[in-house]
Amino acid sequence: MKQQISVLMDGELFEDEAASLFDHIKRSSDVHMDWEVYHLIGDVLRQPEHIHRGLSAKVRERMQDEPTVLAPRGRAVKQRIRTFALSAAASLSAVGVVAWMSLQISPEVAPKMAMQQSAIRPVSMQIQNESNDYLMAHQEFSPSTYMNGSASYIRTVSYSRDEAPVKNSPDEK
């Protein structure tokens, strides 16, 4: 059985075999445990920094803590429109994310905003447009100007869009 699970995880099991194995996993808690342990092993091998153990159990626990909303069904139609709008927005932002990811031109670790924990005080504020003059005056004498030429001036004319300040980490206060 264990070997079959491992084969399944490698994606080398035929469809019908996989289906019956999934069935088995669903029914037997022992097999289910094996399934989880194998994934944990895989996770540890791939990225030893962040391990999630018993994630599904924790999610289930939190779900049970969530209040049950008892709402009348009168606004169902409105709800549907809103759901559609939301899903449209979600797919738009997904397009945005894909576009942004395709612009990730660096092999370096892209800014993992959500993950990083900085020991120093996190900077949560964007430099305001009113401060651009300081940036310009600074740029004039900075060595980066010798190297990048005008390109380094792009910093000084970058515009702040009207949006919430980008935060370095979600749990900062």
């Binding site: 942004w100 031109i105 800014p111 300081y134 390109a151 792009i154």
Partner: protein
């Protein structure tokens, strides 16, 4: 046996020598970058990624009989255009060319000063990392690793033939990208659009005022203000101390600049206007951090391509040491 020991010593000396030579090689590259950036005609599109935003810009650099012309134009967001010529920087704001900057000290041929190079090698460890492809060109990758955590790591990609800088990345804490520039398309030499140079030089064009340096730009005067910063990171040397007019300020502002060869820290000191009460605080844009604070009725602003804790450390040590 003795001979063997001598031989081994000799071998060690040779090996040590080979390793010692790694750094000077990279610094030569840096001079090549500076030289190539000014002597080469090129046009291309580059992206600037900072925080979690990306901006695309067009850049054209040509050399004419009366000097270099460089135009930078943003391709997304509101139209912003910067033209640089003869050490002056013009900004295209609201359909008007406005002179925003004039590089007093180095309006001639820009070059890296020997002091700058020695400061650089004292504060950073330079490493050649091999050749990679950027915008279709082969580029030598060079890493500048700081010797302390008070500055950022810099990584540059230099075109192996022309010496042009094709990509530059600033890496912060834990090697995450603080900001990066990279060409996505680049034409080196050949037929490059110069029509805008004529347009820029012609007088009385509709919507554009005469691009002449106004009087204000000449008012940058060297001074000895008496302001000092006690805890600058090691290797930062004062390169400039001036009194200058600044856009939107009634009184001239004192600016003191320190550099470690690769990045700079500017300290601005000005009388605190009554209406700017809650200006204290830290903000950032890409690799640049800015920290404001009021000290003795003066508004102090520290700006630099250094980590946030460095600008804060510097500002907290600023004091008046004059008469």
């Amino acid at each position: 046996m003795k001979l063997f020991v001598v031989f081994c010593g000799l071998l060690l000396a040779v090996v040590a020598n080979v390793y010692a030579e790694e750094t000077p090689v990279s610094l030569d590259w840096l001079e090549t970058v500076v030289f190539a950036g000014h002597q080469t005609d090129y046009s291309g599109v580059f992206v600037y990624q900072y925080d979690n935003r990306v901006e695309t810009s067009n850049i054209i650099h040509v050399t004419e009989a009366n000097g270099e012309y460089e135009k930078l134009e943003s391709l997304d967001g509101p139209k912003r255009e910067i033209i640089q010529h003869d050490g002056h920087v013009w900004n295209y704001i609201n359909h008007k060319m406005v002179l925003v900057d004039s590089q007093q000290g180095h309006s001639g041929f820009p070059f890296l000063l020997p002091e700058q190079l020695s400061a650089l090698s004292a504060n950073y460890q330079a490493k050649l990392l091999g050749v990679e492809r950027v915008a279709g060109y082969n580029a030598q990758v060079i890493l500048f690793q700081p010797k302390d955590n008070l500055r950022y790591t810099h990584k540059i990609w230099v075109h192996t033939d022309s010496g042009l800088l094709l990509k530059a990345v600033v890496l912060g804490d834990k090697n995450q990208v603080a900001e990066q520039y990279a060409f996505t398309q680049l034409q080196i030499g050949g037929k490059i659009d110069r029509s805008w140079v004529r347009e820029f030089n012609s007088v009385g064009l509709p919507g554009k005022s005469l691009p002449k340096p106004p009087e204000a730009a000449k008012d940058i005067t060297p001074i000895n203000s008496g302001w000092v910063a006690d805890t600058l990171p090691s290797g930062f040397k004062k390169t400039m101390e001036v009194k200058r007019p600044m856009h939107g300020k009634h009184a001239p502002v004192t600016q003191i600049v320190f550099s470690d060869g690769l990045s700079a820290i500017s300290i601005f000191i000005e009388p605190n206007d009554e209406d700017e009460d809650d200006v204290d605080g830290l903000s950032s844009r890409g690799a640049v951090n800015l920290y404001h604070k009021v000290v003795d009725k003066n508004l102090i602003t520290v700006v630099g391509e250094v980590p946030p804790h460095t600008v804060m450390q510097v500002l907290d040590s600023v004091r008046y040491n004059g008469k």
